[in-house]
Amino acid sequence: MQPEKKAVVTVLGLDRKGIIARVSGVLYENGINILDISQTVLSGYFNMAMIVDVSEATCGFDVLDDAFKALGAEMGLQIRIQRSEIFEAMHQV
């Protein structure tokens, strides 16, 4: 078992059916475990942040980034995956 390596998946855009299913699908296919999900829908606008563990991912970051970009384009959403250190560096001392 490798140590946990976290990333943050963020999804922004108009709410529609299947967002969580499709995003989780990409994560599942690539061996990534979801650790936490926070989601809000305000006036039809969907905003989700997922903390995921990429330590057992079966692909590189570039593959995930491409997969989420393609899914985002298909669903009219902005989907991103970023290493969690960037958020920790900015907000935690």
């Binding site: 943050v8 963020t10 922004l12 936490d36 926070s38 809000t40 905003n47 942040a49 903390i51 970051f61 570039d62 980034d65 991103r80 995956i81 970023q82 290493r83 969690s84 250190e85 960037i86 958020f87 920790e88 560096a89 900015m90 907000h91 935690q92």
Partner: protein, 447 residues
Amino acid sequence: MISTNEINETLRMIDHEKLDVRTITMGISLLDCVSSDPEKLARNIYDRVTRKAGQLVRVGQEIDREFGVPIVNKRVSVTPIALVSGAVNDVLPTAYALDRAARETGVDFIGGYSALVQKGMTGADRRLIESLPQALSETEKLCASVNVASTRAGIDMDAVRLMGEAIVKTAERSGGIGCAKLVVFANAVEDNPFMAGAFHGPGEGDTAINVGVSGPGVVKSALEKVKGQPFDVVAETIKRTAFRVTRVGQLVAMEASRRLGVPFGIVDLSLAPTPAMGDSVAHILEEMGVEQCGGHGTTAALALLNDAVKKGGVMASSHVGGLSGAFIPVSEDIGMIEAAAAGALSLDKLEAMTCVCSVGLDMIAIPGDTPSSTIAAIIADEAAIGMINNKTTAVRIIPAPGKDVGDEVEFGGLLGRAPVMPVHRTSCERFIERGGRIPAPLNSLKN
């Protein structure tokens, strides 16, 4: 655990406030490339740069993608070329070799076509200065700098005169653009990651990773939330923002250093504007209450900004260096461009601002018929400010061929566009003809 608010705040800074890492700059020592054969020297330099920096662009792109923070430029800085070209009569082959190496590695700029002449010039220094017009007009990515003064050594007025002439000739040969890649320094620093003045100082190790952060938009946006509040609050707000921006720089620097196997050098705590809307240092000063940049109050606002950026950033990085502070390049800052075009911002006010900003007179277009002695005198004034105040100052000035006050010069990309600004028309010839050295000031005697 990171909160949703924190995640959203970071994304907003990147998406809407143009938070980015301006540059990862790899410093490379060329001291072991020395040869008395000009072709061999050029080949050694090309081989060394391409070998050391071969992976720099790829690693920069990887970090950009994984962390989701744009890394705008990947650059290389090298040992001042005058230090390694002492045994050859023709220094130009090294300029072409550096430019070729930059293209081969895919970096945006390569800096270090430089000479350190604050106290005197060697033959190699003189040859390098004389080669600047040709080197800068026949290369694309090469950046040059010459240090003509320091607090310890005073001002080398012979070098100042030569640099005035070199700037005029470079403008004539390159249509002006070559001057955007040439900086004349006082108190130049050895680990600056920013162009055009980056070089890898002789006191540095074999290689180093230096990172320059950016983020004027983030500071402006933070200040919009404290409208009308006292300056104590303004300073605290800038400090807090600078801390966050610098933490990103530190993270990227450590990651780049680890992946490239190159020691981490410094993070340069700078606010570097771009010509894009929402990425302006001038607009931060205007947010503080100055109606337009250049008006009364501008220098005080800039002093507060420059100081607060350093105070906030210094805690966020293990090694701070470079130029660290707020840059005020006219052509690269939409607020400065507007202020200069409106006549609100003059060269004299910019000179005053350089007493309290991170560097000096930067990316300023002046009439194409400005005499070299006037440019030399502008350099001398700026060098004097640096020398007396124990800070880095610089002049990157562009005589725009065939253009006069009221015209505009377009440089494109990050270099932006500049309205041609008026210079004083009184003669500086007798002043510059004297030559010699202006002695180091009393405050240099610190031992």
